[in-house]
Amino acid sequence: MDFPDELKYTEEHEWILIEEDVVTIGITDFAQDQLGDVVFVELPEVGDRLETGKTLGVVESVKAVSDVYAPLSGEVVEINEALPDEPELLNTSAYEDGWMLKLKLSSPKELDSLLDAAEYQKFIAQD
């Protein structure tokens, strides 16, 4: 399993790519492996305001429905339009083509609570 060093992570198994005050969010390789074949993705709309800990969207595998929680607060500025038609991108390209959305942060301070790759790997090893 792959956990790129340039990304940040959460205990809810999301990855975050930080580019100034805009972040890109997706689910980790560990999360997609646990879910199995992803068959449906529900995303918010551009312009929606997300609050940390609230539901951001839904990822469904053949067997299960999983909520995805917003790791940070902010406004959705872009969503991955390819996902509704190709939800399997979450499995095949979790960190690249399977990105879920981009968020313009409203409180950048929240970034301090994110895990780095080593911390995240330690977390899933214990979990």
Partner: protein, 362 residues
């Protein structure tokens, strides 16, 4: 949790394991969709050793089974199999099962894992209450391993390991034969809608049989398959699963099982209640629904008509073959057919669904 004789092999193969009916079972190896498609296009091998096997034998075995089950046992010949069910007096379903006739005085019932103890207790009680004395009931579940070899190439694979003549073995018939040197009941049945076999062998022979089949089948595309694919495969063919489409609270006529409910043959437990239910007219019916918008229907989701709940999904999934959401749903009879548009409530959305005559995949 109980473990099948193949448990260690599943772990070694990297299968994801889960609890099912009191057993630790593989839910997937390579992935549900890959395994599903392997079964539709080539072949898959399932460990179904969790299934229960109950034996009924003795001079009154026939009379007893004719009384305990809803199908007509008289239509069975030696070596033939029948899909049937046990009902309660009120018509609710105890379990659905396949009934194997070895002789007029010896039968094997293959029942659902989670129900095997309940079924055995139910049969013993029926037997005692109805004064069947020349009869022996035994729960032989722990004595058998059971593997399901399913898919269009199943016969070709099995033929490499047995001298039994498979071309003569018709659907819902069985033969006793050696497979890879293991004494096996070779049953031309399955739960996937594909050609295939369910193979019963002494528990100790399960590992040899599993490994021999995988080795013989690998060049033909055979893959191990888990309960995840077993569920999506049966749902595409609209086969009922106990606890979902049929329960103690859903009777066989509601669940599209009138074809195994022989109300005009001899008396059986539940017959009176089912005759009355039929006379009054069914309140609910099981139907097939296919989403016409993106989404995945799941058990328990409401079926809606003009915003009113008219039924519930009993099983649903994303069909790996059709790539759309499919569901079996128990709905009020007035909405089972006709033109009124139906939706399935998925979280906050109402997703359009059209009635489809099952099976979803022909």
């Amino acid at each position: 949790m109980k473990k099948t004789v193949l448990n260690q092999l599943h772990h070694l193969a990297g299968a994801r394991m889960m609890e099912f009916g009191g057993w630790e079972m593989p839910v997937q190896y390579a992935g549900v969709i890959a395994e599903h498609l392997a079964v539709r296009e080539a072949a898959g091998l399932f460990d179904v050793s969790h299934m229960g096997e109950l034996e009924v034998s003795g001079p009154q075995a026939f009379d007893f089974l004719q009384y305990a089950t809803i199908n007509d046992v008289a239509s069975l010949a030696d070596g033939q199999i029948q899909y049937t069910a046990l009902c309660y007096p009120d018509g609710g379903v105890v379990d659905d099962l396949t009934l194997y006739r070895f002789s007029a005085e010896r039968y094997l019932l293959c029942v659902n894992a989670a129900n095997s103890d309940k079924d055995f207790a139910w049969l013993r009680q029926l037997c005692a209450d109805s004064n069947f004395t020349e009869l022996e009931l035994s729960n032989r579940s722990s004595e058998y391993a059971q593997l399901a070899l399913q898919g269009p190439r199943a016969a070709e694979i099995l033929a490499r390991l047995t001298t039994a003549d498979l071309t003569d073995l018709k659907y819902y018939w069985f033969a006793e034969a050696e497979v890879a040197g293991v004494a096996t009941i070779v049953s031309r049945t399955g739960y996937t809608g594909e050609d295939g076999f369910e193979l019963y062998c002494p528990t100790a022979g399960g590992v040899v049989l599993w490994q021999a089949l995988l080795a013989a089948g690998a060049p033909l595309g055979l893959q191990p398959a888990g309960l995840g694919a077993r569920d999506t495969l049966r749902l595409e063919k609209a086969y009922a699963l106990y606890g979902h489409e049929i329960t103690a609270g859903i009777h066989p006529l509601e669940a599209r099982l009138a074809w195994i409910t022989k109300l005009n043959s001899s008396d059986f437990v539940g017959r009176q209640a089912l005759l009355e239910a039929k006379k009054k007219g069914l309140k609910r019916k099981l139907i097939g629904l296919q989403l016409t918008e993106p989404g995945v229907p799941r058990e328990g989701y409401p079926v809606l008509c003009d915003g009113r709940e008219v039924g519930r999904v009993t099983s649903g999934t994303m069909s790996p073959c059709l790539k759309v959401g499919i569901a079996l749903a128990l709905v009020e009879t007035a909405f089972a057919a006709g033109e009124q548009a139906l939706q399935i409530g998925i979280r906050k959305r109402q997703v359009a669904a059209e009635r489809v005559k099952p099976p979803f995949v022909k």
